[in-house]
Subunit: 110 residues, 3 copies
């Protein structure tokens, strides 16, 4: 049975190292289902004009699910149409992380 | 069966965003039992004269359990009577987090 | 049955407080098996000339397993022979953390 992993990125200043860890995880666990939740200040990484857009689009092309937290989007006064296409929005990033774990997903903070 | 969630706040400079995430979690998972452990430098948030006192007392009034780590209290040379009333003290915050998980609680770092 | 705990230290500037938490965990859960994974910028703590060498060697003498992430070693251009003796190297720190959890280990971020 493949592993399901729910990854949390919350700090804006830790996005680059977080994304590197996601790539390393993907390379190490080829069959895992990986979902990455961006919330708190890290939500800015999902903006179309973010420095991380290319990496994030590359992760999505590999089948990694990218999720943004609506609470954080509102707190940062971000317009949803300024976000990278293809990401999934959830009401609450932390609610998503807890729910996935309750369904057996493995938790990872990067 | 309601979810039980054990939340960790460890960094003094991340307390505000951590508390916002706890509020978002509470609003999203109405029936969950939520316990928030403050340890390392974040223990200072539990001082009576902390900027977060009002938010923390409001969380407690909602039934959220607030826990402080005695190891961190001693490391920061805090007197126990200078802490907000109603919080629970455990010997070790990390021990509490591990024990709760061993009893089936879901872990969340904010 | 003793608890198995997989501990993550990822940030260079949080190594000291992380190591203090590991010591507190050890003192609180005497019978637990504890493995500490150093990755991202925190990998530098495992250098022979690191300020943390004595503490890390003391942890190993207590039976705590110390693990370094090869991806992080390469990213930081560290030579493996400059690392403290007795640590275990894994291809991917995050892969190790996920795999251990899939085997029932409890996760802790410090």
């Amino acid at each position: 049975m493949p592993l399901n992993v729910i990854v949390q990125i919350k700090d804006e200043d830790k996005v680059m190292q977080g994304l590197r860890s996601v790539i390393n995880l993907y390379n190490d666990l080829k069959d895992a289902v990986i979902e990455v939740v961006f919330h708190q200040s890290a939500i800015k990484a999902l903006l179309k004009d973010s420095n991380f857009r290319e990496i994030i689009e590359d992760l999505m092309s590999k089948g990694i699910i990218i999720v943004g937290c609506e609470n954080s989007i509102k707190a940062q006064k971000i317009k949803e149409d300024s976000l990278i296409s293809g990401i999934r929005i959830v009401t609450s990033g932390v609610g998503e992380i807890v729910r996935k774990q309750s369904e057996g997903w493995i938790y990872l903070v990067v």
